[in-house]
Amino acid sequence: MDAETLERLLMDRALGALGPDVEALLDEHLAQDPEGCQRAAEFAGATSAARQALGAGVPLRLPEFPALRLATLERTRRRLAWVRNTGAVAATLVVGIWLGGLLTSGRPGPDTPVSGAGERTALAASAPAHADADGGFWSVARLVDRSRQPERSRALRLIWDSPAERPHLGGKS
């Protein structure tokens, strides 16, 4: 064992951080190393004096557990959690109703037939600003084609016009 490793082990032992197995092996080694033994005693003496200097082992009277303050805190925490959860549910409902109203008012529904020039104009107006007239996902031509798809594709559509109403199956409104 080199001197550096031995010193580290001696310091760990003085700090009380060595396991019993390692400590036993170290003792075996120190039995044949008087110089190491001397250093071990010095490290142990240093940590022992430091323990005393730091006041280790001096009993301190612990104040009573602040049960009342913590119980009050727990009650407050529960109340706040209830308010937060209730608020979240209410907010979700309000947003859902608002979104439902927004989606169903003033816009052609997915099952409204689009055939004439008027409808094309309406679709063009409702398409986003980046809509491309020639092609692309939001193009008018694509939306018109989509509205002319066979009835089959709309036959089993789930229609839910508003969160206030129950959803139903069907292709025609």
Partner: protein, 159 residues
């Protein structure tokens, strides 16, 4: 008291004395130390899941107490330094302890703190790493530097 409060009370009995000793030593003011102790357990009651999921609840409490102490010291706008306090300590009678106290005062604050947490509060190396938020290797090297320094001082004083 519910289950979490009961377990917190148990933790208070187990960790409270060593935590209070650490705070008392660190702050040199028993009343402030008790306030910090209470605030630490208040935080534990406020965030029970953090304590429950901590690798070591004891390390979590010590780490939280250190943060509370930092806030208290900032509020006080004082820079408490252990060396001067240790030098003025009236309990010193043994010349070996006197030498060590002086040496402790000369150590960098980080080494002095970690040595106190190890020797006085008996935190494991892993817990020290958690409390001080440093790698395990740094824990070991700080402790070794401190112990080596104390030994050198004692040897040079021929005590």
């Amino acid at each position: 008291m519910d289950r979490s409060a009961t377990s917190l009370a148990q933790l208070y009995e187990e960790v409270g004395p060593s935590l209070l000793a650490y705070l008392d030593r660190y702050l040199r003011d028993r009343h402030v130390a008790e306030d910090v102790l209470q605030e630490t357990f208040y935080q534990a009651a406020r965030y029970p899941s953090r304590v429950a999921h901590a690798r070591s609840p004891r390390a979590w409490l010590f780490g939280t107490a250190r943060k509370v102490v930092a806030t208290v010291l900032r509020r006080r706008k004082t820079t408490q330094r252990l060396p001067q306090e240790l030098a003025a300590d009236e309990r010193v009678v043994d010349p070996r302890i006197e030498v060590v106290e002086r040496a402790l005062g000369e150590l960098p604050a980080a080494q002095r703190e970690i040595l106190g947490l190890r020797l006085r509060c008996e935190l494991s190396y892993e817990e020290l790493a958690d409390v001080l938020e440093i790698p395990l290797g740094t824990v070991r090297s700080r402790l070794h530097h401190a112990v080596r320094y104390l030994r050198e001082k004692l040897v040079s004083a021929e005590l």
